[in-house]
């Protein structure tokens, strides 16, 4: 497409053809697809780095590709694209109609670092005297009060957490490029966009929703995102250890449907990815802990995607034990062990009590964005963004506002990327139509010349 395609819509510095809300894999794919068509795109991400959930994963199913190895090039491509502007550590507070366009109110949070001067050398981090539980490591590792968020964060700028900063000034003294700005304040700004793609992602519901699993009583009843970090090459412990006391686990259990397909906790739907990521994690754990027993307690295995069934069969062949049965209760023992009480459906319904070192609860996927109404969209009964037209699954039903990825419902990475492409195509089509209408309504040069001659 010619370089002039998006240019017609470039009115001011604060005007973008498209604003993508969320810099995870879906948002980045939409942004890249649009930017490659020469639209000017702003990506707004609330975390200090782009990459979303995917950058924190160990490997992906069913190919077992390294997740960060395939996410980092996308992050880098977006960061270096001449048509993409990134705004990290920035929230979108409101999206309202503004004539033909959308007006977005953004809040850029204070990093306490001048990003035009920071070179990501981490000297500030090395001298900082306070450490706190690292959110990127799901609380298991440590992060200093000022630090680059994680090793392959993009952009590589330090960010200071004022909750843990004691204001000692060590970072200010250590910074060779004088980039620390302790007087920085949050900034509110408005931008205009021709179209919007909402790619606000998901989070997992709490492990404490089911009191019978006693997650609040043991650090070894963990979330699958914790397991992703335990399995990651640069994870918090550098190997798989149980978080309560550092024991190398010799028995790990997965409890599927531990936070979804359950009316009692308000998540009646299937989270779609738990079966497969649990199988993947079980396979990776059996590699990391060759002598450990690994058990998956399941209701049914939903291996519906391409290559999924073979992946499941491979896991069984590797010796991972699949037990059909719902876990009734998990009870922490005084010595730290976890006893799982299970009805083994395929063994005449007998009740088993099994000992494990580590239990993973496959939690439900819930939308990160609580009030899509604020961002110009509506939500379904399940809380995910509404898509009223089954033949246009990337459209929110609102003029010029599209949706991609898990913001619209639980899905895997491949489906998120496909939907991101679809949302980009919808946005591109919408902008082209809008421009064609604007061109048709504009007085043509020929008419003006005739008009001038007739005077």
């Amino acid at each position: 497409m010619s370089s002039g395609n998006g240019a017609a819509m470039r009115e001011t510095e604060n005007h973008f053809d498209v604003v993508v809300v969320g810099g995870g894999i879906a948002g980045l794919q939409s942004a890249l697809d649009l930017a490659d068509q020469d639209y000017r795109v702003l990506v707004v991400e609330k975390q200090p780095s782009i990459g979303g959930r995917m950058i924190s994963l160990s490997k992906v199913f069913p190919t077992l590709d390294c997740a960060s190895c395939i996410t980092t090039p996308k992050m880098s491509a977006a960061a270096h694209h001449s048509n993409i502007t990134l705004m990290t550590y920035t929230t979108v507070d409101a999206i309202e109609p503004a004539g033909d366009n959308h007006r977005l109110t953004l809040t850029q949070m204070a990093r306490y670092v001048d990003t035009s001067a920071c070179i990501g050398c981490r000297q500030c981090e090395y001298v900082c005297p306070v450490e706190y539980p690292d959110p990127f490591e799901q609380g298991m590792g440590a992060l200093r009060a000022i630090s680059v968020p994680f090793a392959n964060a993009i952009p590589q700028y330090a960010v200071l957490n004022p909750e843990y900063c004691i204001g000692c000034g060590a970072c200010v003294r250590a910074c060779a490029s004088d980039a620390i700005r302790l007087d920085q304040q949050p900034k509110t700004l408005t931008v205009e966009a021709g179209a919007v793609v909402l790619a606000t992602g998901f989070h997992l519901n709490s492990t404490s929703l089911k009191p019978q699993y006693n997650a609040s009583r043991s650090k070894d009843i963990v979330s699958p995102l914790q397991v992703e970090r335990l399995l990651a090459p640069h994870g918090p412990y550098g190997r798989v250890l149980r978080p309560s006391d550092g024991k190398i686990p010799d028995s790990v259990a997965f409890v599927l449907c531990a936070g979804s397909r359950d009316q009692s906790i308000g998540v009646p739907y299937c989270s779609r990815v738990c079966c497969m990521y649990s199988i993947k994690q079980a396979m990776l754990l059996s590699g990391a802990l060759p002598t450990a027993d690994i058990t998956i307690y399941y209701m049914d295995i939903r291996a519906f995607g391409k290559g999924f069934e073979q992946f499941y069969q491979n896991a069984k062949a590797m010796g991972i034990s699949f037990v059909k049965g719902k876990v009734a209760r998990i009870t922490p023992q005084p010595n730290g062990d976890l006893m799982a009480r299970v009805e083994a459906i395929e063994e005449d319904g007998r009740v088993m009590e099994n000992r494990h070192d580590l239990v993973v609860l496959a939690q439900g996927i819930v939308p990160e964005l609580v009030s899509p109404e604020r961002l110009g969209a509506a939500k379904e009964e399940d809380g995910f963004i509404r898509r009223p037209d089954p033949l246009r699954p990337a459209w929110t039903g609102r003029e010029g506002i599209f949706v991609a990825g898990t913001a619209a419902g639980p899905k895997d990475i491949v489906d998120s990327i496909m939907e991101a492409g679809s949302a980009a195509m919808e946005a591109s089509h919408y902008l082209t139509q809008k421009r064609a209408t604007a061109d048709a309504n504009a007085p043509s040069l020929e008419l003006e010349v005739i008009g001038a001659a007739s005077e």
Binding site: E131, A142, R144, I248
Partner: protein, 99 residues
């Protein structure tokens, strides 16, 4: 290094401390505990390599906190793994140059 603070830095620090004044002392207590625990674990490790349960017995700190500190020190380069003892990894202190 360390470089001197300019007047602008001092003003910024002053404003930061005013805006984040830790009125209820939560941060002060967190940092005091953090330093105390880190010091105890460092002292225990200086006596020799140990597993998390061993360091827990020596320091009397909660076992999950000992794991957190030891692996944090590993991340920032003052501790390294030194084999295993049964089901637990042994950690050893890395003496820094001149310290």
């Amino acid at each position: 290094m360390p470089a001197k603070l300019t007047e602008a830095h001092r003003q910024a620090l002053k404003l930061f401390r005013e805006q984040h004044s830790d009125l209820d002392g939560t941060l002060k207590k967190y940092v005091a505990d953090f330093r105390h625990e880190r010091k105890q674990i460092t002292e225990a490790l200086r006596k020799g390599a140990g597993t998390v349960p061993e360091l827990t017995r020596q320091t009397g700190l909660p076992v999950d906190q000992v794991l957190w500190h030891v692996t944090a020190m590993r991340k920032y380069g003052t501790v390294q793994e030194a084999g295993a003892d049964g089901d637990y990894v042994k950690y050893e202190f890395i003496e820094q140059n001149g310290k």
